[in-house]
């Protein structure tokens, strides 16, 4: 069965939902494909061992554990097949809304210097650090648009030293908790500037949806009052309301189709009849034609799809003439520190993350970049037990139990994403020997970030400990960061934008070099990934690319 559309968008995450909405509201006929299902609050559930933050035995927002393998190559060169809930899979959720269905929703803009990393710091040997082909000022109006159209709670004036902005946030920040008070005191003693953390959370009713009820389940879970703003409850409903957007779930894109001249003209995909729970072998193959195809599947799956879409004209995959697709995979190392307070700092009021400093994102002697540091989302006790106990505490017996009893509410946490100094060897390729449930060759992940990232992470770990001590912690503990592949939920960089086709995959709009009508729009575009949670930048770029697509491809034609 063949259908024909103005545009096909592959993926409904932070970027795909926005592009679908902007195009559909411009009256364009959009086919929006999502490999996973639409998940209700109760389907995501509250399983403490199987969620997108602690995935010991599974997770709660896809992909399914069976039939979706990847191959991970360790630093010694040993390859092994990994399942979606294992750490080396570098998973992001696969459902309507993508990662935004279950994210913590921190809504940071990148700073002006984040777009000019090579100019600011030079390029360390072995890294692919580069400037973006656009500046903060180019993106600023679209940050504002994302903040207002999806809904961000924050304190703009308090963040004035971090980035210039023309307009404040639409919603007030989350209220402080006892840990906020302690950390603010510590920061003041150190002379550090702090501010409330901006969050894509309704602190008041907004967008015809309810406000946050301060439960303990934000990151890794779905929101009980639908007050956490993601693609699934903001942009996609708007897209569907136009009547111009058709959303197909359980639809796995197999390859981007090209015509006899090598021009992109559609997408072939499988739809699992009866949903993803069905056994393999009942998939129905579809092809859809479109004037424009936009890949928004996340940094790993977008690269995989381009590489799997090889043909006579594109023998190395689409956009991969110069072996750039899949390189520079980056996410964030996440240094974290813990400290023990004499008094309780936990009051059970979620989301838990309240206060941050952007003091150390740049300007650190001997360090390339740096990162934001903030307190943490509330951790369920089993997550705390696995993650947060002092290394010298016995792992069992009364001492362990009594530490949990006495100190779960007295441990202060700070953590933050460190700007990745990317390596071209941290990358996604295709493993033709391993196939998913649809028979499609899977992503193979190899390499690591650049050693300069570890230097920055170690610097930030020390800042975290310093902050906790100044805040009154009697004991402080943390772990030294290691040289690993970074990716995970903050995955980015695999189809970086740039001016030169030999060192980048797309232009500054996300249009794949040497193609008229083929776009990548998601974290894959990020040349560098900031020392911040990347989602607001993914959203801003999606608004920007979508506006460009409407302007350049459709408005002229329709007058």
């Amino acid at each position: 069965m063949m259908t024909s559309h103005d545009a096909i968008i592959i993926g409904t995450g932070a970027a795909g939902g926005i592009v679908a909405c902007v195009l559909a509201e411009a009256g364009k006929d959009v086919l929006l494909l999502e490999r996973g299902p639409a998940l209700s609050f109760s389907q995501v559930g509250r399983d403490h061992l199987r969620n997108q933050r602690l995935s010991i035995y599974g997770h709660n927002a896809g992909p399914e554990l069976e039939g979706n393998p990847r191959v991970f190559v360790d630093p010694a060169g040993n390859a092994r097949t990994v399942r979606p809930h294992e750490p080396d899979y570098h998973n992001n959720a696969a459902c309507v809304g993508g990662g935004t269905r279950v994210y913590g929703a921190q809504a940071w803009r990148f700073m002006p210097a984040d777009f000019r990393m090579a100019s600011t710091y030079g390029v360390p040997e072995g890294s692919s650090l580069a400037d973006w082909p656009l500046t903060y000022d180019d993106v600023e109006p679209f940050y504002e648009r994302a903040e207002w159209e999806l809904g961000v709670a924050g304190d703009g004036p308090a963040l004035r030293d971090y980035v210039p902005r023309r307009r404040d946030y639409p919603l007030p920040p989350v209220p402080p908790s006892p840990q906020t008070v302690a950390l603010k005191r510590g920061a003041q003693q150190l002379g550090w500037i702090t501010s409330p953390v901006p969050l894509l959370i309704n602190t008041l009713p907004y967008g015809r949806r309810d406000s946050c009820i301060a439960c303990k389940y934000c990151v890794g879970f779905a929101c009980p009052t639908d007050a956490k703003n993601g693609s699934h409850n903001t942009m996609i409903p708007r897209a569907l309301a136009t009547g111009h957007c058709k959303l197909v779930t359980a639809a796995m894109a197999d390859r981007i189709e090209t015509d006899e001249e090598g021009k992109v003209n559609g997408v072939s995909y499988f739809v699992q009849e009866g949903g993803l729970a069905q056994e393999r072998g009942k998939a129905e193959a579809h092809t859809a034609r479109a004037k424009i195809v936009i890949v928004s599947a996340g940094a790993i799956e977008s690269a995989r799809l381009l590489l799997n879409s090889y043909s006579t004209h594109h023998p190395n995959g689409l956009g991969n003439e110069y072996d750039q697709v899949g390189r520079n995979l980056q996410g964030h190392l996440y240094p974290r520190a813990y400290g023990l307070m004499r008094e309780k700092v936990f009051n059970g009021i979620g989301p838990g993350v309240t206060l941050a400093t952007t003091q150390f994102n740049h300007g650190n002697l001997g360090v390339i970049g740096g990162g934001m540091l903030a307190d943490d989302f509330i951790k369920p006790p089993i997550d705390f037990w696995y993650d947060s106990l002092p290394p010298d505490l016995p792992r069992w017996g009364l001492a362990n139990k009594r530490f949990m009893r006495d100190n779960y509410t007295r441990v202060l946490h700070v953590r933050g994403p460190v700007q990745d100094v990317p390596s071209p060897e941290g990358r996604v390729t295709i493993d033709r020997a391993v196939r998913d449930r649809w028979g499609i060759p899977v992503a193979r992940l190899s390499g690591s970030t650049h050693p300069a990232t570890v230097v920055a992470a170690e610097f930030m770990r020390s800042r975290g400990e310093e902050w906790l001590r100044a805040s009154g912690c009697e004991r402080v503990w943390s772990w030294r960061p290691g040289l690993v592949l970074s990716g995970g939920q903050h995955q980015a960089g695999t189809c970086r934008m740039g001016h030169d086709p030999k060192t980048s995959v797309t232009d500054k709009w996300g249009r794949v070099h040497n193609h008229d009508n083929f776009f990548v729009v998601d974290g894959s575009l990020h040349v560098t990934n900031g020392g911040f949670n990347p989602v607001l930048t993914i959203m801003a770029l999606a608004f920007r690319s979508a506006a460009h697509i409407v302007r350049a491809y459709f408005q002229c034609a329709t007058g």
Binding site: L39, S42, H48, L49, Y57, C215, W396, M404, Y408
Partner: protein, 164 residues
């Protein structure tokens, strides 16, 4: 597969040394056995042979060290046996690496004790009251008690026999 009677006795005594009773219930009383019974039929099925081999070896270590079944030893003697296993200092032949078994025992006991009560352990949210994560009987906003029940995706397969 079910645990033998001996393995069940060893397990019950062992989890209560990993998380012993004090002014709050220990692992067994709080339902860790029920949690494990479910997990042995689902997520832990692939490592069940290791788990059982470890319990049998733990019993053999106890007999070798104290000439007595593990579940009949004093708390201090039980801890001595466990500490030697943790350190890899074993007196008998093991069919599973002692450290692999010990990690499994510790991690799965903590899981049963601290995870959500829906999974069989942490009866009445006892560990959540103990830690201060939630006060008993007063579910926080949005907690499962105030929400529709969830099911389907993400839940372990039910149906494991309860351990006695």
């Amino acid at each position: 597969m079910r645990l033998t009677r001996q393995q069940q006795q060893t397990l019950r005594a062992a989890v209560d040394r990993i998380i012993p009773p004090d002014n709050y219930p220990g692992a067994w009383q709080s339902g860790v056995g029920d949690y494990l019974a479910r997990q042995f039929e689902s997520d832990l099925r692939p490592v069940l042979d290791d788990y059982c081999a470890g319990l049998t070896a733990l019993e053999a270590e106890s007999v070798a060290r104290f000439q007595q079944s593990f579940n009949l030893l004093s708390d201090e003697e039980q801890d001595t046996v466990l500490r030697h296993i943790e350190a890899g200092e074993v007196l008998t032949a093991w069919d599973v690496a002692p450290c692999i078994f010990f990690n499994l025992l510790v991690n799965t006991t903590a899981e049963g004790f601290y995870t959500d009560p829906e999974q069989g352990g942490n009866r009445n949210g006892v560990s959540w009251a103990m830690t201060g994560f939630e006060e008993p009987g007063s579910p926080s906003p949005g907690s499962p008690a105030r929400q529709p029940r969830w099911g389907g995706s993400g839940q372990p397969a039910w149906g494991g026999g309860h351990l006695q």
